[in-house]
């Protein structure tokens, strides 16, 4: 297997055109930090976009930043931080969870996987901040979608399709995303000792308030001890965390109000900006589950009020460890590694737990053989599956871009 490492968009075109002619599929990667996420694809050669690197435009007052798709996230984040801005979708760094080093991802990879951290509930996911792109389709043609302004409805929003397409629709070469001001101050209200159901009620109450909560997570007992924040590590039980961000006086006001409004449920404590940043980075990067590399990790998105019930159903009879983000709507869940038949049973339990409430479950971390054994992404109904194939056809009729990474035949 050869890996092609183009240095210009024209060379990406050349590479894809060659792959089409040779009928040899390409594994499209940015910087490779999430290569083990998805179905093991049958690919002949690699298309490494990491040489397409560098910020090409950054206008803080216009709230936009453009970069070559392979630009390291670390470089983007450093540029934004220098101007007191951020990517508001708070992309997770999944590197450590997937067994790699931290800080290795690219902006193109963050978009292609539609990453989103705890702030998803307030600010949206990568999809909501993805303004424009140049990509090379599986036909070997460059196409542009979107623009470099924050408000644009000209033509179909193909950025939405590219976000979360795992490189199966286009090899992105240049991307533009929204940059937003970083909050002046952050406070986190901690609630101690709640069980999952009570924590769900607490997070729902916080989310229903006017306090513009920008993070609502719950760590059940047993998942708190590894935290670098001592209030969490030494809690001696479950910790529920509610975050508010914004101008100083507002944040203080809202944190105090939340403590008052949740005081009937549990003992509370408050983290200031520095500790808050530490805690939410741990939650964002799935830190509480990263420590056991042998465990299989699922990411499950459900209606927030259903989260506790779904987790309980999966955990019943299985030795699951899990925590909640997105006000209960995101469950990060780890199951011990097992032989193939037991794995089938656990997979079935995860899928069955979503039947009534809807949602989707993705197997984020598992050995290659297990990712080949069961669907990694949520199985689709026949109508959606057929449409997904037709959309893939419209970008990549010869199946040269990451074929099979999401679904067989796509």
């Amino acid at each position: 297997m050869a890996t092609l490492k183009p240095e210009t968009p024209e060379q990406v075109v050349e590479a894809v055109t060659w792959a089409v002619a040779e009928e040899t599929p390409l594994e499209v990667i940015g910087r490779g930090s999430k290569r083990t996420l998805g179905r093991p694809a049958q690919v002949g050669n690699g298309l490494d976009l990491s040489s397409l690197s560098g910020i090409t435009l950054y206008e803080p007052e216009e709230l936009v930043i453009s970069a070559r798709a392979g630009t390291p996230m670390a470089e983007i984040e450093a540029a934004l931080t220098a101007k007191n801005q951020m990517l508001a979708f708070e992309p997770s760094d999944l590197g450590p969870l997937l067994g790699g080093a931290p800080g290795m991802g690219s902006i193109g990879g963050a978009l292609a996987c539609n990453l989103a951290g705890p702030r998803r509930i307030k600010a949206g996911a990568a999809r909501d901040h993805f303004l424009g792109a140049h990509s090379v389709s599986g036909r070997g043609e460059v196409f542009k979608t979107g623009g470099r302004v924050v408000k644009n409805v000209t033509g179909y929003d193909l950025c939405k399709l590219l976000a979360g397409s795992y490189g199966t629709l286009g090899a992105m070469t240049d991307v533009t995303v929204k940059a937003l001001p970083a909050p002046e101050k952050t406070r986190t209200v901690l609630l101690f000792g709640l069980d999952d159901a009570a924590a769900s009620r607490a997070m729902t109450r916080a989310m229903q308030s006017a306090h513009e909560v920008s993070g609502a997570a719950h760590l059940p007992a047993g998942l708190t001890t590894g935290s670098a924040v001592s209030y969490v590590a030494k809690a001696g039980g479950a910790v529920t965390a509610i975050r508010v961000e914004g101008p100083g006086p507002s944040v203080e006001h809202r944190a105090a109000a939340l403590r008052r409004e949740l005081a009937d449920l549990a003992e509370t404590e408050e983290l200031h900006s520095m500790n808050s940043a530490k805690l939410w980075a741990e939650l964002r990067d799935v830190g509480p589950l990263a420590a056991e590399p042998a465990h299989l990790v699922w990411k499950i998105s459900v209606p927030p009020a259903s989260g506790a019930g779904v987790a309980a159903r999966i955990a019943h009879g299985h030795d699951a460890r899990y925590f909640f983000d997105w006000g209960g709507g995101l469950i990060w869940l780890a199951l011990p590694a097992s032989d193939a038949p037991a794995f089938e049973g656990r997979h079935a339990a995860v899928r069955a737990a979503l039947k009534d409430c809807g949602g989707h479950a993705t197997l984020i971390r598992a050995p290659e053989d297990l990712r080949a054994q069961v669907p990694v992404f949520q199985p689709q109904d026949p109508g959606n599956a057929a449409l997904t194939k037709r959309v893939k056809d419209s970008f990549d009729p010869r199946r040269v871009l990451n074929p099979g990474r999401m679904y067989a035949g796509v």
Partner: protein, 495 residues
């Protein structure tokens, strides 16, 4: 504006098609009388009119599915319509097409406050969603100025914005789920009450697809809690440059206001004459900034922004001290379109977006164009996100004026693209900007978009003649030329 040639064979089968649709939607669900069809002959872009062949008003998803399947099997074109408030001609009927009017889908199906969402039918009005949840202190954030009339289904089709979208996002950022019907009758459920999609983001693709990909029959929207309070600031500047600098400085200071609107002198004068909002008349630019949130935050930011405005040479500065004053500040801006309608027999509303720092240049060039075309122009502007709404004043009864207004409008939109912006920020392409798509996109860009259309609607029966300047056949678009196979750039490192 040229629409696709009517299919005479289809027109000849009109009675038969009406009868078939009548079997799917019994009772009074099919309209074939010319008098009654008149109600549908245009949308908010009133310069274009066309009677549909037949209008059909389904009440259930199953009926929509049967209608679309029938149309696909019989090669009949379909134009979906919500309330018909589109400003780009998105719901303009076709002579040989049926108009699918979704007005009877007008029920709120579920309000789920624990999950902060509501499930509604597409014919519910934008404001109707907020009305259904405001008793509990919630609201639906996107607020297009037609929100009393426009429907959620139309909002999805156009990805509608509003004055608050800088902070709260467009329609696409406020949806969780859809039920949509494809032209072959397939009913798709996409998303739900959870976040993000399980495969390709069809929810995001359908939002803003202008009725060309599918017909939406149910929408799950996100709800937000109403902010504790809101206050507005009214600033008058001696030049539009200074007003623009003030906007840049506010954002540069890390503040994203709930709304930030600018008006130029002609718009200020028209609005003031109409509603007496107390706007200063001796300024070149007016800026309205709205802040929402807890009292303590709003007061804190009011002080900061007032300081920024002062540093940027503000001439007049007022802060609302109560709700009545706040609404009064907005009254002129919200009435800007009808106010311009009072000083001119007709006006043409444009909708380009530009990188904000290009505003002085764009305003200057617009003044030159105004002289060239001998037509007045008034500007209202979503200042935070660079979305311009130039209103071109004309008189349709004067020979040639409509054409001049349209040419003027095209020149403005081309200018928006030239300075790095886009053709439309929130009104959509429709028929209005269809023929300008080539100024922003290459043929390859547009072909890729049309291939996506082919994945949904291979015979191009859903809302054809909108968005794309040229319709290609899907077979032609799908063809691929394979170029022979040398390993590319052999001198590059491999691993």
């Amino acid at each position: 504006m040229r629409m696709p040639d009517p299919d005479l064979a289809v027109l000849g089968r009109r009675a038969e098609i009406a009868a078939a649709l009548g079997r799917i939607v019994p009772g009074e669900g099919v309209i074939a009388e010319v008098d009654e069809l008149k109600a549908y002959e245009s949308d908010g872009l009133t310069a274009y009119r066309q009677l549909p062949m037949i209008a059909v008003l389904p009440e259930t998803t199953d009926q929509v599915s049967q209608i679309l399947k029938y149309c696909q099997e019989n090669g009949v074109k379909v134009v979906p319509r919500g309330a018909g408030t589109s400003l780009s001609g998105g719901a303009l009927p076709l002579a040989d097409g049926i108009l699918l009017a979704m007005g009877k889908f007008n029920r709120i199906l579920e309000v789920d406050l624990d999950n902060r969402c509501a499930v509604v039918q597409p014919g519910v009005t934008n404001l109707g969603v907020t009305k259904a949840v405001e008793h509990a202190g919630f609201y639906y954030a996107p607020d297009p100025s037609s929100q009393i009339a426009c429907t959620i289904g139309g909002n999805v089709a156009e990805n509608s914005g509003g004055v608050h979208c800088l902070k709260y996002g467009l329609t696409t950022n406020n949806l969780l789920g859809l039920e949509a019907v494809l032209i072959d009758g397939t009913v798709l459920r996409i998303g739900g009450k959870h976040l993000d999609s399980e495969a390709y983001d069809m929810l995001g693709l359908l939002t803003g697809s202008e009725g060309l990909l599918a017909v939406v029959t149910e929408v799950t929207v996100r709800l937000l809690k109403k902010p504790e309070t809101a206050r507005a600031l009214l600033f008058g500047f001696p030049t539009s440059e200074q007003a623009g600098d003030c906007v840049a400085a506010i954002i540069g200071a890390g503040i994203i206001p709930g709304g930030m609107e600018m008006m130029d002198k002609p718009a200020i004068h028209a609005a003031e004459a109409f509603v007496n909002a107390g706007y200063p008349l001796d300024v070149e630019a007016l800026l309205i900034v709205e802040l929402d949130g807890p009292h303590v935050e709003v007061d804190y930011l009011v002080a900061q922004i007032t300081e920024i405005a002062t540093a940027n040479g503000v001439l007049t500065s007022r802060v609302s001290t109560n709700e009545e004053e706040r609404l009064n500040f907005w009254a002129g801006r919200k009435a800007a379109f009808p106010a311009v309608g009072r000083i001119s027999p007709d006006y043409y509303c444009m909708d380009g977006t530009i990188p904000r720092h290009k505003l002085p240049l764009v305003l200057r060039r617009m003044r030159e164009m105004s002289e060239k075309y001998a037509l007045r122009v008034a500007n209202v502007f979503h200042a935070g996100d660079g979305n311009l709404h130039p209103l071109i004043l004309y008189d349709a009864n004067e020979p040639g004026e409509l054409e001049r207004a349209e040419d003027f409008g095209s020149d403005i939109l081309k200018l928006c693209v030239e300075v790095g912006g886009v053709l439309t920020g929130e009104h959509g392409v429709g028929v209005e900007k269809r023929d300008l798509m080539g100024t922003m996109f290459t043929e390859a860009d547009l072909n890729q978009q049309q291939r996506v259309k082919c994945a949904f609607d291979p015979a191009s029966l859903l809302n054809p003649g909108k968005m794309f300047p040229e319709l290609h056949r899907c077979a032609e678009l799908g063809r691929m030329h394979i170029h022979g196979g040398k390993m590319p750039f052999p001198d590059l490192p491999r691993f």
